[in-house]
Symmetry: C2
């Protein structure tokens, strides 16, 4: 049950030489007013964090808003019951504003952000963030769009957790995690956290998929044999 915690690495914020072009990598930011860009570039610090670093978590409010340049951050909830569930991922080109904002406002939240890969991000101080929101209407759009996306995603998760069958959700998640490839490196335990369910449930469901020859299982990996079938099952949720 109790998942193994990633070791708390305490965010070794390694400042690096300024990559003057990072702003351009954000679709929402590249259209900013030139002087706003200038501000971001001169005052934002580029930081890196190693894989498995806990970027934020209970009792660890971040000082800065992060804009992810490279890598992905997994945000997951740890329940008092010891259960875990993945809420969403932040990918390169997205920002943590939402989570960060929450953390700043409520420190009794229970979500944590973990670097799934080595991560490079631009850190923007709170004060400067506020400044940017005030000055730039495109920045406001960027921020509110990010909020909106996250919130609709959360709505979706609630819907899935509450009302979707586990076989449908698992099929969906397998296709998603495969990202077009045909093997997935993940333990049943990891998948159970993705869906907020029990490891045994995943094991049994995967066995059923294997029995139908949709997948082939081996220790730590899942090979997809019939993507179509999985997608067909998953479609009942979209």
């Amino acid at each position: 049950m109790r998942a193994v915690k990633a070791p708390r690495v305490d965010c070794p914020v390694t400042a690096k030489a300024l990559d003057s072009e990072w702003v351009e990598r954000f679709p929402g930011l590249s259209r900013l007013e030139p002087e706003t860009k200038e501000l971001l570039l001169t005052r934002g610090k580029i930081v890196t964090m190693p894989q498995k670093a806990v970027i934020f978590g209970p009792g660890n409010s971040p000082e800065n808003m992060l804009f992810l340049l490279d890598g992905t951050v997994r945000v997951q909830q740890v329940s008092e019951t010891g259960h875990e569930i993945v809420l969403y991922r932040i990918n390169a080109g997205e920002s943590c504003v939402l989570t960060t904002a929450c953390l700043l406002a409520y420190d009794d939240y229970s979500a944590e952000g973990i670097a799934e890969t080595d991560v490079q991000a631009a850190a923007v101080p709170r004060q400067m963030f506020d400044d940017l929101v005030a000055r730039s209407s495109s920045f406001r759009n960027f921020v509110f769009a990010a909020f909106s996306k996250r919130i609709t995603d959360l709505f979706l998760i609630i819907d899935e957790v509450a009302f979707q069958r586990i076989d449908v959700r698992l099929a969906h998640k397998l296709v998603e995690l495969a990202k077009g490839r045909d093997t997935i490196s993940a333990t049943h335990q990891m998948l159970s956290v993705e869906l907020g369910t029990a490891r045994e449930v995943i094991s049994r469901q995967l066995q059923e998929f294997q029995r139908r020859k949709w997948v082939e299982l081996s220790r730590g990996t899942i090979k997809i044999l019939e993507r179509n079938k999985l997608e067909g099952l998953a479609k009942r949720s979209d």
Copy 2:
């Protein structure tokens, strides 16, 4: 299963005489700069909606941001499966920014807002909202605090739906809905929507509570006999 839909009343936005003091009723707004207040008061319109009005819903993006002056709005999700779940409520002194923002960004969302009582609200046009965010740092705080609150609430709901036992959740909800009084006017169907579960599940659980003499049931109402016991059970979630 299929819950009865409230009739679509299409938001009869009844403009009323300007109540010049409404801004003061918002804890977060009363400390605004005088000129910001002035702007809100002169440009915001006061609107009223009758109980059961659908304030927003699928295919009905609101033009304006609403600040609730009186009454409460229930926001709930309607799943494709026909299931429903209450996500949160907006009370007097709170704003719909979050939901509104979502609706503006993604119109394929599936949440709807329903007036639980007659509702009075101040409507602020989108453009003006943006303006206020730009000008006033206290307004920004107000908005971001609202977002943060909602998001942490959503995190909580996910946790509950995924990991909490139904008896614990029901006990919790009963105490919450009682608001200190000792009788609740609600059908089992309504309670099942509150928790995103099935009516039968609620019925059975309530019967169990009645068997223990914690509550007394009658058509459409629940009388709480042993609030302490309910709270004791509910505490296992907080």
